[in-house]
Amino acid sequence: MSYLTESFMQLLGRAPRKPKPEEYTPEVKQIHFYKRGEKVDLEAIRAEHMGHKSHKWRNRRWATLISVNLLFLVSYYFDVQLLEGALTGSRFIGFHMADLNSALQVMLAYKHVVLNLLIGTVTIFVLWFLLGGRTFCSWVCPYHFVAELAEKIHLKLVERKLIRNHEFHRGVRTVFYVVFAVLALVTGYTVFETVSPTGILSRAVIYGATLALGWVAFLLLFEIFFSQRAWCRYVCPIGMTYGVVGLLSPLRVVYNVEACKHEGECRKVCEVPHVLEPVIKGRATDVTVPIGADCTRCGLCIDACPTSSLRYEIRGLNKVL
């Protein structure tokens, strides 16, 4: 239960807290005890792990993301009716699917719910509940993809000390969530859709370039020169929605403390590093710790980890696999 509360509070924007002594299991206490006694030469470990480079999950993810978005285009272009519509609302071989946040905005603004929309919403809810919630962000959202590329430029500039990253308070995403919901309800317009780079990009991929891409370009420049991954980290209510959907999801990333050398490579590549707080030395409250709901299941940390301390897990299926 406390894992769930902590996971939810982090989603809302609370900084991860240090666990209290009574929260640690005896097993992990022992591991922490031994690790404290060990002499650690972090430089040597880093040097030893220098050669570790894997892009397995990133490549699979990019392939999936590109395929899904291209499937929309191909389906329309060749009129094969496989995946019709855009990411905000679609039909997969005839089955309705509706992006949860877009559907919510429409329901609040229009104040009627058509059965098809409800069916689409439930379908998508079940789908992303099973697949991990924010999995949508890193495995499907086209903005996530371009933002990932922009992030590489940002990090290069930071490394050369040409710019520095400006962080915001993560709680502002919760504020955005509430503000956009209230705006939809009060004004009767789906205000968020006007600026949603996910919708804009998805439509542009399918129906052709628009001026709205200028806004997406502005966001990317903002992220390159001012604040790393700002939209996904601090603004996007879509990510927030899927985060909540993924709170109890069976698919998640888990951390095992035993072999971990605590170099922190995983935290460097993570879009939402606060979820990786348990990998800090002495923070894991159990031998294996599930990563919180704000995690996008992108797998960059799994790729980055030289000791295989992070991996995907499907709860309940592990014994089978």
Partner: protein
Amino acid sequence: MSDDKPDNADMPGSVVAKQVPPVVNRRKQQQRRQFLRTLMLAAGVVGVSSMGFIPVARSWNPRLRPPGALDEAELLAACIKCGQCVQVCPVKAIKLADIMDGFGVGVPYVDAREQSCDFSCDGLQCILACPTGALSHKLNYPSEVRMGFARLDRPDLCLAKKGEGFKGKIRGPEFDGMFRYNEIDRWKPQRIRDQEFDLEICDLCVRHCPIEIRIAQCEAGEPPSGDINQCPPRHAIELRPVDEGDGIRRMRPEVLDGCVGCGACEMVCPTSPASIVVDIESMVKRV
């Protein structure tokens, strides 16, 4: 905060007096900066998205909406901006609005002059495709649609009004517009530019009116899809003789209350600009 104490404790030591003044706790300062930054981000994003209201409130881009569209404000609320209606239209009449439409971004519209709706799907496919009811599922037949209302905007240009005929291709060899000519292919809309006309007096608007075409089919005992419900109850347009006392045989297209505002007449009108145009339903004052 406990971090303050060491700084304050150093205060009396005047040797380092120059470095002492910044007693402000750095962490606190950073937090304050972050807070202000966050406030600006919130104001910025909410501000930019709210700007989408301007084009809507000022009606910058009055749009002809697809069949079955709810009233403008409701349409913008109910539409999920997915474009499924775009994908099913056999003549590609539906387009999605861009960011200059503000809150209307991604909402479907029809540019009738470029490509009007011609109901060649018969079944109102766009309405069936709509997942949110923004295109109202209450409509079943083309004659129930009311996108707008046609009006003879430039009687001085109208060929029929001038007593002139029409010969050749409608709107030239470059025009991409499509129309379903039943007698050519019931299932496949044709390029309008591939059709040749030779009319004694121009009646292109009337002969391309999907409602009039349906009425003619019904009168011939062949209602569309064999369904008599497809038969429109009222006429939409007809040519009426006009006598200007100069002996020239003139006709004038008269729009009747069966007009659904699909815009086919506007698309095929050979004058430039179009003599007949569709007034958008939301802009028409209802009696």
